[in-house]
Amino acid sequence: MSKGVLVDLTKCVGCGSCTVACKLYNGNAWDETTPTLGDKAKLTGKNWTVVHHKEVKDSNGQPVWRFVKQQCLHCKEPACVSACFAKAFQKTEAGPVIYYPHLCVGCRYCMVACPFNVPKYEWEKAFPLVTKCMMCSDKVEKGEAPACVSVCPADVFKFGEREELLKEAKAIIAKDAKYVKHIYGEEEVGGTDWIYISDVPFDQLGFKTNVTKRSLPSYTASFMHATPFVGITWGVILTGLYHYTKRRNQVSKENNKNIKA
């Protein structure tokens, strides 16, 4: 059974507490150029989660503001994981899709594979890594809610067993007419551990609604896994290996970082 988070977008007031909590917990620096909150918010190597501001119309045609928290959706069958031949991305039993920097070779296939454009590359660094929300896996392993989830003053989130949350979400949208009859993440790409409910159609809130309901690895497994060995030239492989070795050295220098073998 995997853990999940139910996000009720109707309750978000756009305070950004969740984005601050993510920075505090993960020790991510503030991105001087890209905000975590508002119209210009964007996921970056430093911003693992952001809250977008959307001016939309509600069901009565009235102009309303909605805020949308974005982070990795922790797909049940993650494309990023299956794309990563180095096993730097892994799906844990508890739910989080996590990333081991020391295994990463920097090929960035995960970035291409993710249907939600979540993993980011630390372009500005000399030894860039790929980064994304880890669902605070240390906390989740202990049965605690992720940092962002635990600070929300408006009760936007519910943390628990994904299947329970799904039932709850279904009950909420069945009972309350204001919700659109769609749970985002229930079926998208085979299901995600973070699921969303809303009173404004998801496509108007910037959600990708044209994604397949089939899990992506089921398409990519055969082809992506084979890619590095079949489909690309030796030159690319050698460059990859070069980065791989360089990274290894760098990692061993920094082994005060919390890295698992």
Binding site: V13, C15, A126, K178, E254, N256
Partner: protein
């Protein structure tokens, strides 16, 4: 050659490693990073909350914070300083009853009355006033612009604290001296227009009581813009009770670009009007679209009555940035025309003060006799108790019942009573901030949460000046106000007085869903 980003990373890693070592954890593996000596000079790179240095520690007491609209004209937040302590929610929800008093989903607004109390509670000063100092500096440097400034009653008992003086230090004369040194062309006193407010608002009250004005009782005071916006959001059905008088800031603003401009022979568009306020909501008030009466009067509606509002804290920063030491300045006097004030105007700065000032003059206006000594020290409505009442017998009218509330959580019960028709009052004074303007959201920060001791010290200073420093204690004795009526406004509530000194309100309830049983 290492590049800059790499060095930065190394530096951060080293710091974190060191802190970990201090904590006695993660000792292994530090050598490698410390060995790579940073080539940066000593010293910090800016202020950072401690949490940032200690990865993986997540204090259990972290909480959410209030939402702030990035276009909020009064307050702003530096995310880097926020430590998620939740104090802003605490004050906004419990003291001001704003956050949490509307249903979700929100509509098209982040409900905020701009009071700035959160700036006083935020322990890291992540939330501050929106800084408008540059606009004032620019105007002061432009020799073609005539820059006029007014100072609210309460700033003179707060400003000194920013310069190390004891809470409540009375720095009226030093503040004027500092403003003159900064290069303002004229320094006026908002106390003057507070006295003027008493004429206008007192006349309105008498009209309501006698039935000459078909508006309900009790009349609500309207000088606190945070309170006004609160009423517009949560009690729009009671806006008919709100006095139509503008606040003293806006009255003086409207007069600067009409009366003063005319007397001085300066074109209103050459005047830049600044006000020094203990309040962040005044920034919002000055920006309200309808606050352009002087401009409309002059056929230039784009002119604002008040161009920029600086809080007491901003003024302190401006003074310091010019290397002026407030404490050593010799007292100076306000400029004439709109610089005279009575202590009735001064006590507007403390909870109960507007009411007391009104009663002093109402008594005179109705009976044509000076009020008895007891009315000059109306102690039942002074002090920090949340809701205060008094009954004043005015010969010819009978018992006038008044109430005074400060802090918006105290306003709700009395507003509910008015709604039900259960409030026996003629006149109610509302001030948005606990203690009144002396503890407004733009005043010097004190302890966390703000202490009643400091509030009381500032209040004492105001009433001390009322009793011992000011020569006159009744608004109707203000010679410059009388001259203003004679030369320009004709009489209280006259046509032109209405045009320049009165205003209207906006039902804001369409921007939120008010919680029913909050």
């Amino acid at each position: 050659m290492q590049n800059q980003a790499d060095k930065e990373k190394e530096r951060q890693v080293t710091r974190r490693g060191f802190l970990k070592m201090m904590g006695g954890i993660g000792l292994t593996g530090i050598t490698a990073t410390i060995a790579g000596c940073s080539t940066d000079p000593a010293g910090g790179k800016g202020w950072m909350p401690q949490q940032y240095q200690v990865a993986s520690s997540f204090p259990v007491q972290v909480k959410g914070r209030i939402p702030i609209d990035p276009t909020n004209p009064s307050i702003t937040r530096d995310d880097k300083k926020c430590v998620l302590c939740g104090q802003c929610v605490e004050v906004c929800q419990r003291v001001q009853t704003v956050y949490g008093y509307y249903e979700l989903p929100i509509k098209d607004d982040i409900t905020c009355v701009n009071c700035g109390q959160c700036t006083l509670w935020c322990p890291t000063a992540a939330i501050t006033e929106r800084d408008d100092i540059d606009k004032v500096v620019q105007a002061l440097e432009d020799k073609s612009i005539h820059v006029v400034v007014q100072t609210a009653p309460a700033t003179r008992v707060g400003l000194g604290e920013e310069f190390g003086m004891a809470p409540g230090s009375f720095v009226e004369g030093k503040q004027v001296a500092a403003l003159k040194k900064l290069g303002f062309d004229a320094v006026f006193d908002t106390n003057f227009s507070a006295d003027l407010t008493i004429f206008e608002e007192g006349t309105e009250l008498i009209k309501r009581v006698t039935g000459a004005l078909d508006e309900p009782l009790p009349q609500f005071t309207s000088c606190s813009p945070g309170w006004v916006k609160f009423c517009e959001y949560y009690y729009p059905d009671l806006l008919h009770h709100m006095s139509t008088c503008k606040s003293p800031q806006q009255m003086l603003g409207a007069l600067v670009k009409t009366y003063y401009a005319k007397e001085k022979g300066i074109s209103p568009d050459k005047i830049f009007s600044v006000s020094i306020m203990p309040c962040t909501a005044k920034k919002f008030e000055a920006a309200r679209p309808e606050m352009n009466s002087a401009g409309k009067h002059a056929g230039k509606p784009e002119l604002r009555d008040v161009d920029v509002v600086l809080t007491t804290r901003e003024l302190a920063r401006l003074i310091k940035s010019k290397g002026i030491d407030l404490t050593s300045l010799k007292d100076e006097k306000y400029d004439t025309l709109m610089g005279e004030s009575t202590s009735a105007g001064l006590i507007f700065g403390a909870t109960g003060g507007v009411m007391e000032a009104a009663i002093r003059s109402a008594y005179f206006l109705i009976t044509k006799q000076e009020p008895p000594e007891a009315l000059l020290n109306l102690t039942p409505i002074r002090g920090l108790q949340g809701c205060k009442e008094a009954t004043v017998n005015i010969p010819g009218v009978g018992d006038v019942k008044v109430a005074v509330v400060h802090g918006l959580s105290n306003a709700r019960p009395i507003l509910e009573a008015v709604r039900k028709g259960d409030a026996p009052y003629h006149f109610i004074e509302f001030m948005c901030c606990p203690g009144g303007c002396i503890s407004g959201g733009g005043q010097p920060r004190t302890s966390l949460p703000p202490s009643d001791e400091v509030r009381q010290a500032r209040i004492n200073s105001i009433y001390n000046a009322d009793a011992h420093i000011y020569a006159k204690r009744k608004s109707h004795e203000n010679k410059e106000v009388l001259a203003l009526y004679e030369k320009f406004l004709e009489s209280p509530n006259s046509h032109i007085a209405h045009e320049l000194l009165h205003t209207h309100y906006e039902d804001r309830s369409k921007h939120l869903t008010v919680k029913k049983n909050a």
